[in-house]
Symmetry: C2
Subunit: 421 residues, 2 copies
């Protein structure tokens, strides 16, 4: 098979370190003398034949992607349906790849993207187009199976733990005459990994966070209020971390913004203020609440070094896998040892990953359902280890993030209209 070119695309919610993966992909392609393109706004750009030609991209800009958050080429929430339903999309995709002699397709995303990658590999086979499809892991939700962790998660975990430590020092200072209960809402629609990471903030008895509400544990109002009350009476104040995915006994999200994204996921938000108001109404305590939202998943300034390294490593490995002729696999992180923390990468079939969600195991959650166990701590702690601060500009005082000057490759096919979302 001819070497051909490589196309890299980002998918789904971006992270603080997804561009480190992009950086690795581009640098590896340059070393191997492989032409490299990036799809504009993920799979949407691939369908529209909007491909950034990265061959003339400045090396310094590529290197700076290593420490720049967000998705440099744009990402999207756009899920390809079955081959029957979306046959035209799949055929178009192969036509675009063929037109630009792309023989390697790297799709950087979560469970949905692994599923899409599989389908693309399948259609290429059906159409007799030689293509190596590699899934590249990424998701702050940390809910991919098989892999020890997902690039992007370690950094949001570190941001969350550091923020809980800091805000709780604030509340501790003020509780005598002001805020008694502080509620922080974190991401994690179906799995409580980020909520669990908040638990790293406190190690000794009565250290914050005092209460964590996980999506894996049905919300029990009476037990929650009793725990908050007991904490305030004993400690003087209480920090609560609540996952956006907390559900009622009926299996409904506690808070729903009423909108759904393109994947059909309900858009969540607002469970933090809701829980704070509940505490005020039922217990009368003065409260504050925080919802860091996108700040948590884009906080490259407080990224985990381990996470940034893993994000880079999976990008490099993905190129190597593709060039070695692997197809339908993902480089997943295997934990070799926890103390000292050692890991390596293993190619794993996407069939084992697509559409499977890894929830927080019950033995990571304390018996009362409101905290993490030593097992959770052992798993999580290495993932937030080490700092990897971006360089800062001496005059502006801001991180030197890059927005590379990108150039679209000349189109070779007719336009392919795609409905605006």
């Amino acid at each position: 098979m001819r070497q051909g070119n490589l196309l890299y695309a980002q998918s789904g919610g971006v992270t603080a370190v997804i561009n480190a993966t992009a950086c690795a992909v581009i640098q590896a392609c340059r070393r191997k003398k492989v032409g490299v393109y990036a799809a504009r706004n993920g799979i949407i750009g691939a369908l529209r034949e909007e491909l950034f030609d990265l061959s003339n991209l400045d090396s310094a800009a590529i290197a700076a992607l290593r420490h720049t958050p967000g998705g440099a080429f744009g990402s999207c929430r756009f899920k390809l349906k079955s081959q029957e339903t979306d046959r035209a999309h799949y055929e178009r995709l192969i036509a675009v790849l063929r037109a630009h002699d792309i023989r390697h397709f790297l799709y950087n995303g979560g469970n949905d993207s692994a599923d899409t990658s599989l389908k693309i590999a399948q259609i290429a086979r059906t159409l007799g187009y030689p293509l190596n499809v590699i899934g590249v892991p990424k998701t702050v939700d940390n809910d991919l199976p098989v892999t020890d962790s997902c690039p992007g998660f370690g950094s949001v975990a570190k941001y969350t733990a550091v923020s809980v430590v800091e805000a709780s020092l604030d509340v501790a200072s003020m509780h005598e005459s002001s805020t008694k209960v502080f509620v922080m809402e974190v991401m994690g629609r179906h799995a409580g990994w980020i909520a669990a990471a908040a638990g790293l903030a406190g190690k000794r008895a009565d250290e914050a966070p005092h209460v964590i509400l996980f999506p894996e544990i049905t919300f029990d109002e009476a037990a929650f209020l009793a725990k908050v009350k007991a904490t305030v009476e004993r400690v003087g104040w209480c920090t609560v971390v609540v996952s956006e995915g907390v559900k009622t006994a009926a299996g409904k999200f506690l808070a729903e913004a009423g909108t759904t994204d393109a994947f059909g996921h309900t858009q969540l938000g607002g469970v933090g203020p809701m829980i704070a108001q509940l505490v005020k109404n039922k217990l009368g305590y003065k409260f504050h609440w925080a919802v860091p939202d996108y700040l948590q998943r884009s906080a490259r300034h407080v990224a985990s070094k381990v996470d940034a390294e893993q994000a880079y490593a999976v990008g490099k490995a993905a190129v190597e896998y593709a060039l070695a002729g692997k197809n339908g696999v993902m480089p997943v992180i295997r934990r070799v040892s926890t103390t000292p923390f050692k890991w390596n990468l293993v190619p794993t079939p996407l069939t084992k990953i697509a559409n499977v969600e890894k929830k927080l195991p019950r033995n990571f959650i304390s018996a009362d359902g409101f905290g993490i166990t030593p097992a959770a701590r052992r798993y999580l702690e290495p993932l937030i280890r080490g700092e990897d601060a971006p360089p800062y500009d001496k005059i502006s005082g801001l991180p030197k993030y890059v927005r590379p000057k990108l150039k679209l490759a000349k189109k070779k096919l007719a336009a392919y209209p795609l409905a605006e979302k």
Copy 2:
């Protein structure tokens, strides 16, 4: 006058760097061989005779306060009223100071604390008790007059600008098929300094934030929506920063004006979610919102170096002023030059500072009311310059913040019951 001891107390909302001031006070007292106490939970502790005796505090713990957020000794929201109304409190305070031979009182806070400091100086004179009262500036709101800036502000300003840069890179990546409008709520009930600092995130045309809503500018719904719409149509997406203090034409807080819906149900959340919902309802754009709340004012991990240095300097100067016999003054920051940025400290009578609020000047706000001017940028930029990361623990991956082991001095007076808040 005998040298006597020194009492330091923290007041009002704490900051990322108020402990740097505390560190400076303690270190200066030790160098000068002055006994030093800290009031527990601010003025409340002074009234209750709850004084931490810092004479045996470990030097390493004191040094670590330099990089630890929150108020190590506790702060409070408790305002002493006039001498007539609260005469008993004032007399009690002097009795406590006398009992512990305290001849120097340092009160670390904002406008209210400057006012309290003045009243304490006055009552001491009336009662013939020799006392040097020094106000020490602190407030994230940056609303003290005379001083160029307030310790605590530079760090929240840096946090805010960095967060807007990072979250906006995220939104830029996703806007094609997901969030079009991102709203971030910032602190600043009466003055728009923090909101203005968000403006540092973008310098070139169409860089985020695209819209800032200041407390100094009456909210104009039609103009706001038109600006958001035009931005989304031109740029593809829009970042909005809204100050918690934004008001309606009737002078009401927007957040309060909308606390009930048409059915009289209490609405959850602050002005951030409210503005986001308004955009959704009127323009139909998909939105996300963030309310960092306490995270912003406690984010020591991304503190401004200039801010941390100024916070230390005012603490050191306050001790020097007191020991030199100054009374009723505050060390204020004087900007000597902007380029290069140079500053020094000048003792200023508290009468010029108490109860005066410094709002954002109109010439710092752009003509359309939605952005900052070059004059604002020139003023703000030096304040977020430089990084001063705390040390991190290699195993836990968390900053090495300290919670010093504090010991209360033996009480010498009868108990003084103070109503719980």
